[in-house]
């Protein structure tokens, strides 16, 4: 069997070099995309109409000298190419400059807000994916059944509901309380001031998290349900499922061991894409629930316009999508051996 063993070894070596080439290719694509995002974000916000200095000083008496001083302070008197170089050098040090409106480094603002956003949107996406995929598997496996039709109808109804409206409804009914119903949940924010201790804070944040996450889940889980359902439908007639049944497997095992692993592939891509959008994607929900996250920050930055802040957030949002795409590309071959070759 030495011949066979050698073939086997050569096979693994070839496989390893294929994997390296695959990973390298994906990394390169991601880096190029990131660079394009950097350049775009700089020039995009220079083209936008509106003078930042005028915006900063609205409603106040300022002399021309003061305006010039502000321009100098924020580097706006420099030629465009000089500003771009400073911007690139800053990015390399995670230095996005000073916020026009808060007068503190943008990186500090982002660092403060990113945690709450990841907590809210990450939890929301994972819960939505879990519910959507589970229901989608059952709906697809028993397609045409009462359960399938009911599930699909409810999911699509909720999908068509505007998230801010549903959020407000939750606040009115479950947070403020109406009639005999007491307010069960806080109306907004992420924490009650004065709560201390790890356990108490965790419980408090969890309590604040319920309504925004519920809003998000209700509105987005239909995506996962529909994708998972249609992937399951594609698999139901497949020959390998007949083989699995012929082997004597119970229906539940045919589903779990054979149909789901094959049907999961498109849904995984969707989950990763949505995780990338998570960081910037819940502006409406964050605003409705006064959640101190990146969405609220972006919203406040747009009103000024606070160029360094908005520009930096743009880079953060886009990078998150690119990185999650990269992760999806790297995880996919683990799930589908056919992609590995």
């Amino acid at each position: 069997m030495t011949g066979a063993a050698t073939v086997g070894r050569a096979d693994t070596a070839a496989r390893r070099s294929r994997v390296l080439r695959y990973v390298g290719g994906r990394l390169l694509t991601a880096v190029v995309s990131l660079f394009a995002v950097m350049v775009t974000s700089f020039f995009l916000f220079r083209i936008l109409p509106g003078d930042p200095v005028r915006a900063m000083t609205t409603g106040r008496e300022v002399t021309v000298e003061q305006q010039a001083e502000l321009r100098r302070q924020f580097g706006l008197d420099q030629p465009l190419w000089q500003q771009f170089l400073d911007y690139c050098a800053g990015l390399a040090r995670f230095d996005f400059g000073l916020s026009y409106q808060y007068r503190v480094p943008v990186s500090e603002l982002i660092a403060e807000a990113i945690g709450p956003t990841v907590l809210l949107a990450g939890t929301g996406t994972l819960v939505a994916a879990l519910i959507g995929v589970t229901l989608g598997i059952r709906a697809g496996w028993r397609h045409g059944s009462v359960g399938d039709r009911a599930n699909t109808a409810v999911a699509l109804f909720l999908f068509s509901v505007p998230s801010f409206w549903l959020g407000l409804l939750f606040i009115v009914v479950l947070a403020s309380g109406t009639g005999w119903l007491p307010g069960l949940f806080p109306t907004g924010g992420m924490a009650t001031p004065g709560v201390d201790g790890v356990v108490a804070v965790t419980v408090d944040v969890g309590h604040h998290l319920v309504l925004p996450v519920a809003t998000m889940v209700a509105v987005v889980y239909a995506q996962y349900l529909m994708i998972m359902r249609s992937s399951m439908l594609d698999e139901t007639g497949a020959d390998y499922l007949t083989t699995a049944r012929a082997k004597g497997l119970r229906d539940a095992l045919v589903l779990r061991r054979h149909a789901v692993p094959n049907a999961l592939l498109p849904t995984v891509t969707l989950i990763f894409l949505n995780l990338g959008r998570v960081v910037g994607g819940v502006i409406l929900i964050e605003t409705v629930f006064s959640w101190p996250g990146l969405g609220s920050l972006f919203y406040s930055g747009l009103q000024v316009p606070d160029l360094p802040l908005v520009q930096a957030l743009f880079v953060v949002f886009a990078s998150a999508v690119i990185i999650m795409n990269l992760l999806a590309d790297l995880v996919y071959p683990l799930l589908d051996p056919r992609v590995r070759t």
């Binding site: 390998y240 004597g248 054979h258 692993p261 051996p337």
Partner: protein, 361 residues
Amino acid sequence: MNYLEVEDLRVSYHTPEGEVPAVRGVGFGLAAGSKLGLAGESGCGKSTVALALLRLLPRSAGIRGRILLDGEDVLTMRWGRLRAVRWAGASIVFQGAMHSLNAVRRVGHQIAEPIRLHGSVPRDRVPQRVGELLDQVGLPGWRARSYPHELSGGQRQRVMIAMALACEPRLVIADEPTTALDVMIQAQILRLLDRLVGEHDISMLMISHDLSVLSGSCDRLAVMYAGRVVEEGPAHAVVTDARHPYAAALGSAFPTVGDPASRRAPHGLPGDPPDPADLPSGCAFRPRCAVVEDRCAAIDPVLWPVDSDSAGSAGRSAACVRVLDSAAPEDTGAPDGAETATTRVADPDTTLPTQESGAQY
């Protein structure tokens, strides 16, 4: 007693247009260790028969009749019993192993799955057993770690055969086992299947559209047309001296080795198989038959013993009015019971009563 005994098997599919009969009364028996070939063009119901044997047809199919596997009726079995019989009592070598194997699981895992499920060997011996099985079909042991797409068509079919033998069943159903393979690989796979089935004393039901494949591997042949067996007998006799015009046409569609004339001009059969939802009156083969007569529109012939006077006709039967003519009317008994595989005459009634939708899964 025959290991497999199929009696008056009828399968129809529920469609929006109504009941469509796919199998219209098929019967045959298969003794332990014998090999029966089931031939016919696509759509004649042969694969439906294969799937019906283990109740693997979709829910939209209604099955009637009796399928006795080792004396037990598969169609009335409880679920638990049915699952225990699947693969351990009878396994299937499916067609086109690319789609019949799960693309995201290693082949070793897929071979091991029924072994673990049916507890054929102690748990700690499963990997060793998988190695033995791969060795039996001529694949090196490290192939257990391969995925189906990393194997060639012939190798995948070998994996499929290893899988079919995993639980040492007494019957293997080979459904078009070599259809997607080129001729050289086809011959290898057939030899392999033949050898393994012989060594383990397994009965085999081989299904193919290719008479030459079947005649090489099987003791007896049954030719199906439009959901019925139209001719049945010893393999050699059916191929060389068919009594039913359809079986004859199917035989001459493949060139005979050593006969240049037939190789240059294989005879095709004009026309298409009939729509099962709209069968012609009388004999279903009538519209394509070269020797059709007026009475064929009125008579729907059943399997009838071929005149046993002529040489090589023992245990043969065919469903054609011309066979009916030549046979003595008193000779209504089933064909010679001493045969290893026999086909029973089906109820000539073609109408299929609507049946209660029994769940097949």
